[in-house]
Amino acid sequence: MAMEGKAQFDGSEIEYVSYNGEHHLPLIMNLVDQELSEPYSIFTYRYFVYLWPQLSFLAFHKGKCVGTVVCKMGEHRNTFRGYIAMLVVLNSYRGRGIATELVTRSIKVMMESGCEEVTLEAEVTNKGALALYSRLGFIRAKRLFRYYLNGVDAFRLKLLFPRPESNFPTDNESHRLLTGGIQPEENSMLQNSM
């Protein structure tokens, strides 16, 4: 890969901070607008960072914001689940583990908060994101047909945390008749790129 356009820096120069106020919001918005294909309104950002500030992190290099992760968590069909809404690292800063560090911090908080699993969507063409999440233990649980506004399919990625004790379904449970169709799990169309 050509190193042109790549920022020169040492990994220790990157500073990671938890979201801590309104002054961080424009930094996050600028990054996401710059690097992701989906358009989001300011309300989308507010929704996430106001309700789950502890799950959002920013990466700075010499005072410049070069990466961010925005997440949420909550009950979803009887499962307490974390959701990674946006993960962005400036193009020139990619490939140096910043995204991994950002998302790992969020996932740790989710795990400590009692989440059973973490999900997100990523474009099927986004090889970088898919490789990163695969390294972290995410599987591609589903393919979502033409999920994004640009017509590209998405994968729903899922990370299941180890369960304290095996509570795999017993035979009785497995004979329950399934009724009804599949509901879309998330209405928000969010994506991840790094």
């Binding site: 300011i42 393919r143 299941l160 795999f168």
Partner: protein, 729 residues
């Protein structure tokens, strides 16, 4: 904008409160508009309300992005169609210069084709085809026969396509497709579109004949008024129009013929498909003439992404006009297909439909499954998938012809008399019929959705098995214990039960293979995916074999135990080709599983390691639905570990797996000599086995000596059976 919103709100509040909402005890209705107004004034730009019972998610959901009432960022040239018309956005005629009028009509036709293709591929109807102001106001075009007839056939065609897709319900996630709210899809008189189109076509044909006639005959034809003023261009314009009109005519016929009950229109549809394809060719040929004689001068940028053959911008389209009323979701930003891409789309669609029309309507369930699965390999789009489903399932019958119980009996290899047996009156049987119909329907959906749905219905198939078993036991005694003197009734019960099991494993195997086709497994998960495929295919082969043996009265024998069963199959000359074909897949899956396991164990590659969980969690997530449905009983992550943990290149029988697969595939060629699809599949299996055998030898010989050796897996020969590629890094 804010004032406008405020005024609208006031108006909304002033509406008298509906008497259907009575004031209860202790509750009184009060006018809250002033309070609301004050609260609105308190809100600044970009702020959201966040309260105890109105959280940010609720606030977000209440917002309608791109609704001009709430989203001041939405920009439209016009606020209504009438306003657009008043401003001359869609004149009739398009020009008083008749040449220009013809040029512009052709541009409209071409742009509509681009719109239509974009719609079929996932755009909303309102923002594509019905972005045409002419289509939106049917009465305005009536003075212009050519434009009017064309608009009519477009509306009628759109209507036919919408009804096919809605009837088929293959559009689960593509429901945007059938949203037609507020669009004049069924304008009065559109049903006569073909006769109008025919009349116009007739006139232009005469005009074409007239301009081509030699001078001696010209006098006879002189009473025919030419299409337009420039006689040098007359022939070119007539031809360009004729192929466009004829394409519409034949395409409409294709749709109506294909909808005839019991596939009775398929032969005729095929003829119209051939005509459609030839008219599309003529349209492409007309491109050069239209480009060099266009009305908008030389084109600055290339023709490739233009929505018309001439390269000119068409008149009378505005995709923002309908955005308010047409969909409940925010309108999506749509990039229209270019005209060339649109033509290619229709060529692909017609080729898909041609395959459909050539299908023999085979009444054997297994053949139908195979046909639909094979058809999906061409990656048909929504319209073709809807039509295949409507052909296969009509009125709860196969092809609208064969009752499902009869189809099941036939596929369960029961004698012909079984289909009229009273057993079908048992309440569980109609449920089984419904499951079989649902399965066919699901197989017609897009593969992403299909896989999820297949995973879910596995549970239903397991349950119906239990229910049928109970019902049969209750009514006909313990069928499992009676093996002598079977009467027809018991025979039916037994056959149907084994058939249900066979189909359940078939669904499970399709679920697993689609995982590869959809790229859901990462290379570190291939090992477990092939292990599961191997396990499921063994069961599928077993059930199919039992079914076949049961139907053969003379060779009635007890089935061997599970483990011996498949091992012995290769040696048994009695084994039917269908089962041997499964055996090929089993060997390849087993070979791949063992090769991957050995690579993991000895080379420490393709391992599933991560900071947050282990391979066990990944296994649970991938195969949860199979495990929940106990497919098969008593297998778990630990069985996978047990099978693979000791695999070593020095000991594994993987070499024989690939060799055996190759050998059986070769032997089977004669059995499937009349089935070119199966012959092609056998060839693919042979290639996969051969390549993997070679790769395996290479890894074994060089593997430990050469640490720079890199092994990867590719799907170059088969959609779900991988081929190992060995390279030096």
């Amino acid at each position: 904008m804010a004032e406008k919103i405020e005024a609208e709100r006031r108006r909304a509040i002033e509406v008298p409160i509906s008497p259907s909402i009575p004031s209860g005890e202790g509750t009184v209705w009060a006018d809250a508009s002033s309070l609301l107004g004050l609260a609105c004034n308190d809100l600044r730009d970009d702020e959201l309300i966040n309260g105890e019972n109105f959280n940010l998610f609720a606030a977000m959901s209440a917002l309608e992005i791109m609704d001009p009432k709430m989203d001041s960022g939405i920009v439209s040239t016009y606020y209504s169609i009438d306003e657009a018309i008043e401003n001359g956005a869609a004149p009739v005629p398009l020009s008083f210069d008749r040449t220009l009028d013809v040029q512009r009509i052709i541009d409209i036709m071409d742009h509509l084709l681009s719109c239509e293709a974009t719609w079929h591929k996932g755009g909303s109807l309102a923002q594509t085809v019905f972005s045409s102001i002419y289509l939106m106001r049917p009465e305005r075009t009536s003075s212009h026969a050519l434009l009017h007839s064309y608009c009519r056939v477009i509306r009628a065609t759109s209507n036919a396509v919408v009804s096919a897709v809605s009837d088929a319900r293959t559009n689960e996630e593509e429901d945007l497709f059938t949203m037609t709210y507020g669009l004049p899809l069924k304008s009065e008189g559109d049903d006569k579109c073909l006769s109008m189109l025919h009349a116009v076509e007739e006139i232009i044909s005469r005009q074409l004949r007239a301009c081509k006639a030699p001078p001696s005959k010209k006098r006879v034809l002189e009473d025919i008024e030419p299409l337009q003023n420039n006689l040098d261009l007359e022939e070119g314009f007539c031809k360009a129009l004729l192929c466009r009109l004829r394409f519409r005519k034949h395409f409409y016929h294709v749709l109506t013929c294909m909808r005839r009950p019991q596939g009775k229109g398929l032969e005729l549809a095929k003829k119209h498909i051939v005509s459609c394809l030839s008219e599309l060719d003529s349209m492409l040929k007309s491109g050069e003439f239209l480009r060099s004689n266009n009305a908008c001068g030389t084109l600055e940028d290339g023709i490739e992404d233009k929505t018309t053959a001439s390269g000119c911008q068409p008149i009378g389209f505005d995709s923002t006009l309908n955005s308010r009323s047409a969909t409940p979701t925010p309108p999506r930003a749509i990039k229209l297909f270019s005209w060339k891409k649109a033509v290619n789309y229709f060529q692909k669609l017609l080729h898909d439909l041609e395959i459909l029309c050539s299908y023999s309507s085979d009444p054997v369930f297994e053949s139908v499954l195979r046909f639909v699965v094979d058809f999906q390999k061409f990656q048909p789009d929504l319209v073709a998938r809807a039509l295949v489903q409507l052909l296969v399932v009509q009125d709860g019958r196969l092809y609208g012809r064969d009752p499902m119980f009869a189809v099941i009996c036939k596929d369960a290899l029961l004698p012909d008399g079984a289909k009229n047996h009273d057993i079908q009156k048992n309440i569980t049987v109609p449920q089984l019929e419904q499951l079989a119909i649902n399965l066919l329907r699901v197989l017609c959906t897009n593969t992403s959705w299909q896989r999820r749905k297949l995973g879910k219905i596995l549970q239903d198939w397991r349950i119906i098995y239990v229910q049928l078993e109970l019902a049969f036991k209750k009514e006909y005694g313990d069928i499992l214990r009676s093996s002598v003197d079977e009467n027809l009734c018991i025979k039916i019960c037994k056959h149907i039960l084994i058939w249900v099991e066979e189909k359940t494993y078939w669904i499970a195997s399709r679920f697993l293979t689609l995982g590869f086709e959809l790229d859901l497994y990462s290379p570190s998960e291939y090992c477990m995916a092939y292990w599961y495929m191997y396990v499921i295919l063994m069961k599928l082969a077993e059930k199919t074999h039992i079914k076949m043996m049961m139907s053969n009265e003379t060779s009635r024998r007890k089935t061997k135990k599970k483990r011996d069963f498949v091992r012995d199959m290769g040696k048994d000359h009695q084994i039917p080709p269908a089962v041997l074909l499964f055996q090929c897949y089993i060997y390849v899956a087993e070979g791949l599983m063992l090769m991957l396991a050995a690579l993991r164990n000895e080379h420490k590659v393709f391992l599933s390691l991560g900071p947050f969980n282990s391979e066990h969690e990944r296994f649970i997530q991938h195969f949860e639905l199979l495990q929940k449905a106990c497919l098969p009983d008593n297998v778990s992550y630990f069985s996978f570990r047990e099978t693979t943990i000791h695999a070593r290149f020095s000991t594994i029988s993987v070499y024989n797996c690939f060799k055996d697969a190759q050998r059986i595939a070769k032997e089977l060629r004669d059995s499937f000599a009349n089935d070119p699809d199966r012959i092609a599949e056998l060839r693919r299996i042979e290639q996969v086995a051969e390549h993997n055998g070679i790769a395996l030898n290479l890894i074994c010989r060089l593997g430990t000596l050469d640490p720079s050796l890199k092994v990867s897996f590719e799907f170059t020969h088969h959609p779900y059976l991988a081929v190992a590629v060995v390279k030096r890094s």
